[in-house]
Symmetry: C2
């Protein structure tokens, strides 16, 4: 683990002492991925000085590891001259991603500074939706002909390497019209005899992405099939580019973030995931209100249920003080069950076929925890309020409420999945308010039936 | 997307009609990763018949894609004979993972059936902790000598490929005592002249894993440096194996699951993540009780606060019916803020340096949403209870409560991070009860001060 504070201090010292050689030496000694973390530890003005002291090739590579926010900040800080040079050194799909984060005017200004061949290619990438396979892919793919032999391909790669930047994971075999025919692994290239025809070693059953595939589908396909790179084709099976596993990993992370957001009732349908944190206040409000509003409706129903027990409340107002206890613990155990099931359904660990097993298991867990917590609550309430019957009623309500919450939290994701609604999106807020409503009804009913008679 | 139900129906038809040829044809036409999903769609007895109809090489490869639970189930169903054959065809690190999931007696039975060379290697892997780099790595790594030339290495790979199974991502350069000296990419091997000495093209600054590194560190290093494979060394820098990106991806998924569990108050310290879903009821209870217990303590404090306002409650019991409304919405918006910050801190999108920006932003969001929802609640309560003042007090409490909840939900993860406590673990349950306590105190105070005077 890097001691970021310590490294940042050493950099500050070098900057303050205007010791350029020391500064360069410190920065030189870290991996690009480390430099990203180190720069984030610095203040903006220090960061700019440090960034400018990094060798420019390394600086461009470092930008590839940086989160979009930081990429845009750094490029706008270094000035147009250096920014243009850095952009020229970066892979075009990365540049397109950076541009997609910028204001349109800035993007145009940069594009006009680049050589036409480069800017045309980037414009083409920008034309694809940012969160589609086309928007993620790199167009730089080495293609070979099925009639070539292994030795020809090796010679071809050697010649290409001198003149061009490209990533090498697989070789794609295409015909003259760029139709994708097959895939050859580097392993095959290295292990098969030199005279072997490519046609004989290529895989014809190809897992491929379509250029319009949304990014969640891209993430799922990478996670499922576990290739280091996948080809991207258009409607006519013409090869347009490839997506590599490191870009896929970023998408998987983004998709996971969306899943986590949705579970907490933050909608990513209306506002981009990045914008919720770094965008306008209005956008953030827009992403967060829908489920809060549904909670509001649910809780008004809860208030209405409580209102129906007005006489009970009037007769025994003290019962109100245990409402948060019941709602809080019911909500918590329900959320636990929802989380286990929705995450399991999302990773494939839990399947709808095994629903009965999980419902039965969670019912047992809920009952056991419910009895345990019900007993504790009974005891404390009895001693505190000096009233055994009251303690028993609160404890019984707790036990029933927790068992019910675990049960509902388990069954709901399966039901939603069955009717083709994403359980991650809908389970949380719906269940929380349902538990509040039912929990209150149970508690007040118990109080009305058992306690009012006694007191 | 596969239509799993449809495929399963076709398989059932073939099984019922005892049409073995049709069954084999259907199964042959899908990728191993697809077969995993298809088999999960089938009932256990159908699954066994279908699995036995898959070509055995493909069946072994399929098992690599299957979740641990399914691997163990299938291997125990097919009988010892076929299980042993399948195990022989699987990479040894995968086999060790499967064995780690099994009962010890079963593991021993299988190990005794395997050739001694294989069983010794698997025993060695089993000796490493399952969730350490040693437990994840494959020991099959191609190593070369620094004095070899590119052409020698290519010839060496060709000769090895004929006699051995190995994964090819990088070549590792070691000395006679297996000390790791450098790394050569396949790209370098394919693009550099044949006569180049390996020493001249190897990277000496190597990102490597230590054999005892815990799996969360392994996941972090893969996510950060984005290599397709990383070497694993012992204390003396001797190469022991490598971890490939597909295994790393599984770990990243597991670590994400743990993060999600912890956010919902499910502890993964005491019980393995898998065991919480598939283990004993007692284990599940153990994993879920700690944070529920902390919630219980917090909610007793809330009850105590409410109890302090006994006179207010006695004078105006109706106020109780809005308690769930306040607690529910405060809890929800607070959870949203916590989720945004803890996930951001975990992915690096949010850093502690930008804490002030986020706190200020969330405060604005909380205030805006608080005012909006406060206004709605005021209006509804006014009309419903036919009491403007009551409506205003409930609305005001709602506005203050939501703003405060957003603020606390934002600031807490930063504070925890600063004092080196994992925000994902501690934020949720602590905040939820804090908001309940403060929300109640605010609501009852407002009622006492403004409402009791009026009514």
């Amino acid at each position: 683990m890097l001691n970021l504070e310590n490294i940042a201090d050493r950099i500050r010292e070098a900057i303050d002492g205007e010791n350029d050689k020391a500064l360069k030496e410190i920065l030189e000694s870290y991996h690009c991925a480390d430099l990203v973390e180190i720069l984030q530890e610095l203040k903006p003005e220090e960061r700019l000085i440090a960034f400018k002291a990094i060798d420019e090739d390394k600086a461009a590579e470092m930008l590839e590891y940086a989160p979009p926010q930081l990429q845009v900040e750094i490029l706008s800080e270094v000035g147009e001259e250096q920014a243009a040079r850095l952009i020229m050194k970066m892979p075009h799909d990365e540049v397109a991603d950076v541009f997609a984060e910028m204001e349109e005017d800035d993007t145009e200004a940069y594009l006009n500074k680049l050589p036409e061949k480069v800017s045309t290619e980037i414009r083409e990438l920008l034309a694809y939706k940012e969160d589609s396979a086309g928007g993620i892919m790199t167009p730089h793919v080495l293609t070979v002909n099925k009639d070539m032999r292994v030795e020809d391909v090796v010679a071809f790669i050697k010649s290409k390497a001198e003149q061009d930047e490209f990533e090498l994971y697989y070789l794609y075999v295409t015909d003259n019209q760029k139709h994708l025919l097959g895939v050859v692994s580097l392993r095959a290239l290295l292990t098969k005899p030199y005279k072997t025809k490519i046609e004989d070693i290529m895989t014809k059953d190809i897992v491929k992405l379509h250029i319009d595939d949304p990014q969640d589908a891209v993430a799922d396909i990478f996670m499922k099939y576990q290739y280091t790179a996948l080809p991207v084709v258009d409607l006519y099976n013409r090869l347009k580019g490839m997506i590599t596993w490191d870009d896929a990993q970023d998408i998987v992370e983004e998709e996971t973030t969306e899943e986590i957001y949705q579970t907490s009732g933050i909608s990513t349908d209306l506002v981009d995931e990045d914008e919720i944190i770094f965008g306008s206040t209005f956008d953030a409000v827009k992403a967060r209100c829908p489920w809060l509003f549904i909670t509001l409706l649910g809780e008004f129903i809860a208030a209405n249920v409580a209102d129906k027990f007005e006489n009970t409340l009037n007769a025994l107002p003290i019962i109100a003080i245990f409402m948060p206890l019941l709602a809080g613990l019911g909500g918590n155990i329900g959320t636990q069950s929802i989380t286990l099931m929705t995450r399991g359904l999302s990773t494939g660990q839990v399947s709808i076929n095994s629903a009965l097993y999980h419902i039965w298991k969670e019912l047992k867990v809920g009952l056991l925890i419910g009895l345990l917590f019900g007993a504790m609550v009974s005891l404390v309430t009895w001693k505190w309020q000096n009233n055994l019957e009251f303690g028993l009623v609160v404890g019984a309500a707790m036990a029933v409420n927790m068992t019910l919450a675990a049960f509902l939290g388990t069954i709901t994701p399966f039901v939603l999945k069955k009717i083709k609604i994403d359980p991650a999106v809908a389970s949380g807020p719906v269940i929380a308010t349902t538990i509040d409503v039912l929990g209150l009804a149970i508690y007040f009913s118990l109080v009305t039936v058992y306690l009012l008679k006694i007191v």
